[in-house]
């Protein structure tokens, strides 16, 4: 695989490109549709396509994680929140905020920074993904040996967010 160039794409590259296209296109639909629930459903398509990208890169475990957490929990919670508050059928006029230009600028800037970073770091590196799919045990080894400090820091952060959420809902009750 190492002698392969960017100009001779394989079938896997093509599938990856198609999935990426689906992800980007549906992400555009998320921000441009005039129906709020449709935006959430397009988000499902977009996140699902990203999971497909992981799968093509043989990161099976990460792909299932993406499905379980983003499709199964995050989007469902989003839709739940919308249905509890306001989710009319048909287009709503007030979905586009006044600071859309600022948002566009932030999105473009973030894309530029990440793009430059990725190209600069891995621009000409060929990573061989044709081997065994990365199993959960490989993932666990990496996570709990090399990355155990960030992992623990993240869990403390999540715990404090949890406690914060409980504290917020408590003070609401007393008021």
């Amino acid at each position: 695989m190492s002698d392969q160039s960017l100009l001779s794409p394989t079938g896997v590259d093509l599938v990856f490109a198609l999935l990426a296209l689906v992800a980007v296109a549906s992400a555009l639909m998320v921000v441009s549709t005039t129906q709020i629930v449709h935006a959430a459903l397009w988000l499902v398509v977009s996140l699902g396509a990203v999971a497909g990208c992981y799968l093509v890169l043989t990161a099976e475990f990460v792909a299932w994680m993406q499905v379980l957490i983003y499709l199964g929990a995050v989007v469902v919670l989003l839709m739940f929140g919308m249905m509890l508050t306001r989710a009319p059928i048909g287009p709503s006029d007030d979905l586009t905020g006044t600071n859309r230009l600022v948002a566009l600028f932030a999105a473009v800037a973030l894309t530029a920074v990440l793009g430059v970073l990725v190209v600069d770091a891995f621009g000409s590196t060929m990573i061989d993904v044709s081997g065994e799919p990365s199993s959960a045990s490989v993932m666990g080894e990496a996570l709990f040996r090399h990355w155990v400090l960030p992992f623990e820091a993240l869990s403390v952060l999540l715990l404090s967010a949890l406690v914060g959420a409980i504290a917020l809902s408590k003070s609401d009750e007393e008021a």
């Binding site: 299932w64 469902v76 249905m83 048909g90 199993s135 959960a136």
Partner: protein
């Protein structure tokens, strides 16, 4: 080419099982419920003890008119049944019923099945929202709040047995399984089964489709084939839950005399009977009882089991 053919063949077999096993469970439910209530159940369709009743039901559903409410969001309304049903088929592909008898062996199989099963609820949400009916919407909201509470113990219980076996693959778990796990992993097994029932909206956890309160919840506006697809999804869910429980906790194809796929199906069949039994025996849980059961009983039990499994696995 040969590999591709084999994969296609396996998918066809799984698809056939996906279409027939739910019907078997449905017929079993008709007959078992009837006999528990001193009735006969279906007796005429097909001749022998009404064996073709569900085939007749299917024909009836296919003949019915497809009605979409005027105020509904047509596209989402039509897509919803497919999104509710397909995840169960995809999940079933990864479950082995015997040594080598599996649609597609996946490395992190347990994880895959749990992840895919969680997607099905989006179909219910879509149905509830797109129907433009307040009962449908209420049903969908109830469904999600119930699912959020029961997903956690469901996954934790499965994690316990995966930890005990040291693997996320079904085949490895069944290979590592020994009879004394029946006692050691019993709390996890009970939590898994109960939480699974709640995820499937089976009585006594059928508040989202409570007919006396909100007609039929998210499925109120559905007719004909699309309604039949939702029903099929429910029974496919029962098949899936029973197969999962028997493979994860009851040793799958291990059994006295000889290891065979027959044992997997026998165990799953007994579990399906229990599912029906519970439906006939228990009244529906209220919203507060539902949440209490999940957060104050099932989750602590699952966490304690996880702790016990961790200690035993490390100390062994």
């Amino acid at each position: 080419m040969g590999e591709l053919l084999e994969a296609a063949f396996r998918l066809v077999i799984v698809f056939a099982a996906f279409l027939t096993l739910p019907l078997l469970v449905g017929q079993l439910e008709h007959k078992v419920m009837a006999h528990m209530q001193s009735r006969m159940g279906p007796m005429y369709a097909g001749g022998f003890h009404g064996w073709a009743q569900l085939v007749a039901d299917g024909v009836k559903f296919a003949q019915k008119e497809e009605v979409v409410p005027a105020a509904a969001d047509r596209t989402v309304f039509r897509l919803a049944p497919a999104l509710a049903l397909i995840p169960y088929f995809v999940a079933m592909v990864a479950i082995p019923v015997g040594p080598g008898l599996v649609g597609r062996d996946i490395d992190a199989g347990v994880f895959f099945v749990l992840a895919v099963m969680g997607v099905g609820v989006i179909g219910t949400l879509m149905a509830g929202w797109a129907s433009a009916n307040k009962y449908s919407l209420l049903g969908a909201v109830r469904q999600v709040s119930q699912l959020m509470a029961y997903e956690l113990p469901f996954v934790l219980a499965a994690a316990s047995v995966a930890m005990a076996a040291g693997s996320l693959g079904f085949t490895d778990i069944v290979d590592a399984w020994e009879p004394w796990w029946l006692i050691w992993q019993l709390p996890a097994a009970v939590v898994f089964f109960v939480a699974g029932l709640a995820e499937l909206n089976r009585p006594p956890f059928d508040m989202p489709v409570a007919d006396a309160e909100i007609i039929f919840g998210p499925y109120t506006e559905y007719t004909g084939l699309r309604f039949a697809l939702f029903l099929l999804a429910e029974y496919a869910g029962i098949v899936l839950l029973c197969l999962l429980t028997s493979v994860l906790f009851l040793g799958g194809w291990h059994g006295p005399f000889v290891d065979s796929w027959v044992w997997t199906f026998a165990k799953a069949g007994v579990l399906a009977f229990v599912v029906i039994w519970l439906r006939v025996s228990y009244p529906r849980l209220r919203a507060d009882q539902l949440q209490k059961l999940a957060w104050q009983i099932l989750i602590p039990v699952a966490l304690a089991q996880l702790l016990l499994t961790g200690v035993v696995t490390v100390a062994w």
